[in-house]
Point group: C2
Chain length 345, copies 2
């Protein structure tokens, strides 16, 4: 699932508060029952239709797609895809015919027979919401050449959960906000966000903690506004979060330069030398290091991977895959430490 040119290796991922820009479109096909009730043979047919639409047909897309039948996929693959934000918890858990189409750059995923029949997801490094939306829109049009979507003149796109009905759009930014996190301001920001119809979540989406000081900001409302307004609203509130983070960061650097420097170098010393480490501690230390690089405080050479990529790599199933060793939690802590030791020079 990784290649030399995957999106999270783009330098833009490591150079600002915004780690990534994401678009998700939820679509359903008129002629099948919704996923909660679809017959398994219809689900299998839909897998095939999507395979043909994106792989067998000549398309306008440059990207080549790979098809993954997840129907009987091993749990380790599903968990790894979940950690990498490629599939949702729902798709990972579901016991039915389902599939995933992914491109080589790891930034376009189409989930088939998840909560909705079709979910198109695009991810671009840094602030690139327009590109993410354009790509999703192209895929959407391409798929529509092969299927008729469930669409209502009044409501718009129909979805399994009414909160997605209308545009079926969820736009989201992943943000790295270490100073907001350490100053305990995230919960009041999250509260304020809901007033604007936006949600703030931890690194793994709904209900997850903000490990590594990473939050996801996304629209909650999908109905009654065109896509461009939804995205503009998200950009607006995201910009306010970024400004708060950068303002506090400048203040902190002015007030306690030595302390922040110490924090970055200690994180480096631990990542370079620890002999066992949990995913949660590693994420926290990587967050300190990223802050050091972004703020220009930390002058050690950057590792060969982006810090955000390392943040994904240190998660349990990913570390297991990367080190090619089946392991229990204690063994993974040792493998993770070894992996991180080598990443920093």
């Amino acid at each position: 699932m990784t290649s030399a040119m995957n999106w999270y290796e783009d330098a833009a991922v490591d150079n600002s508060v915004i780690l990534s820009s994401r678009i998700r479109l939820a679509r359903n096909v008129r002629k099948y029952l919704f996923p909660a009730r679809i017959k398994n043979e219809d689900a299998a047919k839909l897998n095939l239709t999507m395979y043909n639409a994106l792989i067998n047909e000549r398309t306008v897309l440059v990207d080549a797609f790979t098809y993954y039948d997840l129907t009987d996929a091993p749990e380790s693959l599903l968990n790894e895809l979940l950690e990498q934000h490629v599939i949702s918890r729902e798709l990972a858990k579901k016991k039915a015919s389902r599939s995933l189409l992914a491109n080589a750059r790891d930034n376009v995923y189409i989930m088939v027979n998840e909560e909705d029949h079709i979910r198109i997801q695009t991810i671009f490094p840094g602030e690139n919401m327009e590109k993410a939306y354009d790509m999703a829109d192209k895929i959407d049009n391409l798929i529509e050449e092969s299927v008729e979507y469930a669409f209502d003149g009044n409501f718009g796109y129909l979805t399994s959960c009414p909160t997605n009905t209308g545009t079926g759009l969820r736009a989201s930014y992943m943000l790295h906000v270490p100073i907001l996190a350490v100053s305990g301001k995230l919960s009041s920001i999250a509260q304020a966000m809901t007033k604007f119809g936006m949600a703030v979540r931890g690194i793994h989406g709904e209900g997850s903690e903000s490990l590594g000081s990473i939050i996801q900001v996304s629209n909650q409302l999908t109905l009654g506004k065109p896509e461009s307004d939804i995205i503009a609203g998200l950009k607006n509130v995201t910009q306010q979060v970024i400004e708060q983070e950068l303002h506090l960061r400048q203040k902190w650097i002015a007030d306690d330069h030595d302390g922040l420097l110490d924090r970055c170098y200690r994180a480096y010393g631990l990542l370079k030398n620890c002999r066992r480490i949990t995913a949660a501690e590693a994420l926290g230390l990587l967050s300190d290091i990223r802050l050091g690089y972004v703020s220009g405080l930390f002058d050690k050479p950057r590792p060969s991977k982006t810090i955000y990529n390392l943040m994904m790599d240190v998660q349990p199933w990913s570390i297991q895959k990367l080190t090619r060793k089946a392991a229990n939690e204690a063994e993974r802590d040792v493998l993770r430490a070894g992996y991180l030791n080598e990443m920093f020079c």
Copy 2:
């Protein structure tokens, strides 16, 4: 006060639980009032007598002594000597004519006009109590050629504080007991010790915490037993403490080898990379590193100084002297970090 061959650079200091073996003899001169009441001109005369006895006279001693008049010594020098265990708190505070005679190897000190007229102190690396006592005894005899000691046929040597009367001897071992410290067993050991007439103290003697997991074990009783019995008793209880430490250490290594290894390497990572650090934290990390070297877990090259020497160097007045910069506490934390960063390769 430091030279290339000072005692704490001996490899023996870093190779066992015992860091050092120390002897202190308390003596007073018959013809002067005890230090609490001595006239300042008599104190000055005693300084001169001692100077002549150890420096001007041809002696049986190989070592050359240096004379320090501490009467008007700057506070920084007194604090540094205190941190290095060269002088006592009493001598550092006293506002009167007083002096110190020290040899080049930094292992023989004679304090003049402290709590007693004369205190002879000898320090040897590792387990070397016999050598320490022999050296103190030689100095004692040498001084007795120049002065008549206050001595009573029944009580023995008379001292300012009755707890030192008799032999005037305090023998002590400095022990590095990281596992006993972390298992919280030190206070029960200290309690048991008092039954045997022994005392356990922290790194800076009476009332100090056991920073860096270093304790001092010494005899409390000085009366009614010959010197050899006092020393034999101390050796006996010290051996029991050492056995407990080594037993728990073996058990810990067997139970949690990875955890202990991780602890050593993390300490290394922090000492090598931190940008500011307090003396207390530095002592704790140096203790972890020393445990790593002694137990053979830690395979990085040793620093050019012994860990125990570094433990002395990181203390506030020593770091100030070593870096040759006047500094407040915050600045010292930065200087200390820089000093430690360079000590490890």
